[in-house]
């Protein structure tokens, strides 16, 4: 038995980076796409309509679609992650 389980360590680092830094980066990208201005036509719908400065939706249709895809990927990744943790964390019950 070794002191450090290297195969667990590299998995924690790689998946930690993907999920812990990659997903928030994807979220940031989605926010940026969402805020793209929509050719002259301003939309007041969506969150943050009260103050101009913190409005999130810029109104560009392509941007909005890309943003939606980003957010969906994040949700799917989280759902998959939770499912995996559940699978690993519930090994077949020990015999009595």
């Amino acid at each position: 038995m070794s002191w450090i389980n290297l195969s667990a360590l590299w998995k924690i680092i790689v998946f930690g980076l993907l999920a812990g830094a990659g997903l928030p980066a994807l979220f940031a990208f989605g926010l940026r796409e969402l805020a793209l201005p929509g050719g002259g036509r301003t939309q007041t719908a969506g969150a943050g309509a009260d103050a101009d400065s913190d409005r999130l939706v810029g109104g560009n249709p392509v941007g909005m679609v890309i943003a939606a895809i980003c957010f969906l990927i994040i949700l799917a990744a989280i759902g998959w992650g939770i499912y995996e943790v559940y699978q690993i964390g519930h090994p077949a019950p020990a015999k009595h």
Partner: protein, 382 residues
């Protein structure tokens, strides 16, 4: 062996520990969201409580490590478990009084190891398991978390640099809520498990369960409820240190810190590493300070925390060993009962001490002035 009255007492003490674990650690998940105003303080702790409850059912890998991976279950008696719990609870309460986010897990593991050592010597401790599943992860996890959080922070600011200040902080506040929820869930998968492991250990010691058995359902449910209630009551002192004391946090940093914490804790839980959610969260928060140009990390606060971390295992072990020696000297059930009475008295004393410099949902976000209570009190400043 079997002594059901003492078993009940031990289970209640274990649940009390779980409760302190919850309120000691609320801050790990929610401190940054509370600090940036993403969530109102009371909503944050309620949400975190519910998610801890869910998380407790999500993975049982860590419970297995605690129950059979650290000490020789054949050498463990109910008295040993009770003494170990006393060590864990007392250390948790002392660090909470000073607002130090130390590791509840190490307090518990230290307490149990200390009492096992006092009862049956070094041969009863599985040193390899202790080092490879507890000590090394304790050293590595905050470093990995800090790295991931620093990279995440840098990416978030880089990608969102064209957004207006207002849109950016609004957008990331939403993201922060999601990531904070993931940390609470992760906390349930790691920390609630530890008490399950200890109660399972007690049941094995009492002969109620066979060695290597998994935690029964009522144990899982009771632990989930205890940690979730503790979380809901909120450890405002620790929340304040983490959210305000360490780094002044903006919402993108908060999201980066929480995402890094959640990912590292969930991954490690799956591998059965009983790491400290506290160490990971603190590492992440420091990482976000490193990842943003111009952000200041208050290294003196970080240094104080790190000192507390190093002392956590041995201090809790000492208290655990002392409690075991006392219970052994008195002997039998009376020894366990005397231990419990002393534990309750010490807990009461610490609680009354904490009233003198109260931190709650009203003043948790006051400007950081160097001490854990907003108006520095000589009694509370370390």
């Amino acid at each position: 062996m079997g002594n059901d009255a003492i078993l009940v007492l031990v289970v209640i003490t274990a649940l009390a520990f779980d409760f302190t674990n919850g309120f000691h650690d609320t801050g790990n998940a929610m401190a940054t969201s509370i600090a940036t105003g993403a969530l109102p303080p009371r909503t944050a702790v309620a949400l975190s409580g519910v998610l801890n409850l869910v998380g407790a059912f999500l993975s049982l890998a860590v419970a297995a490590t605690i129950a059979s991976g650290l000490v020789d279950t054949k050498k463990v008696t109910l008295t040993v478990v009770a003494a170990g719990l006393a060590g864990g609870i007392i250390w948790n309460l002392v660090t909470w009084l000073f607002g130090i986010p130390s590791s509840s897990s190490h307090a518990l593991i230290g307490g149990v190891i200390g009492s096992v050592l006092a009862a049956s010597g070094g041969s009863a401790v599985l040193w390899h398991g202790l080092v490879s599943k507890v000590v090394l992860p304790a050293v590595l996890s905050p470093i990995i978390a800090a790295g991931v959080a620093a990279i995440g922070t840098w990416l978030l600011y880089r990608i969102s640099r064209n957004l207006t200040q207002g849109a950016r902080s609004h957008g990331f506040r939403i993201g922060q809520i999601g990531s904070a929820c993931m940390v609470s869930l992760a906390h349930g998968t790691n920390d609630a498990q530890k008490t399950m492991g200890v109660i399972t250990l007690a049941l094995i010691a009492n002969g109620t369960l066979h060695a290597k058995a998994n935690a029964p359902f009522w144990v899982i449910l009771a632990c989930a409820l205890a940690i979730s209630l503790g979380t809901y009551l909120g450890g405002w002192r620790v929340i304040r240190t983490l959210g305000k004391g360490l780094v002044e946090i903006e919402s993108p940093q908060g999201m980066a810190a929480e995402s890094a914490s959640a990912a590292i804790i969930l991954l490690s839980s799956s591998f059965g590493y009983s790491l400290s959610t506290t160490h990971v969260a603190t590492g992440s928060i420091i990482g976000t300070g490193l990842g943003k140009k111009g952000a200041d990390v208050r290294w003196n606060v970080a240094g104080r925390m790190a000192t507390a971390w190093v002392f956590t295992l041995p201090s809790a072990a000492l208290v655990g060993a002392g409690a075991e020696a006392l219970a052994h000297a008195i002997g039998g059930s009376t020894g366990v009962i005397v231990d419990t009475v002393i534990l309750v008295a010490v807990a009461g004393l610490i609680y009354f001490r904490s009233r003198a410099s109260k931190v709650d949902h009203n003043n948790v976000n006051e400007e950081w002035t160097g001490g854990v209570a907003p108006e520095p009190e000589p009694a509370a400043a370390a």
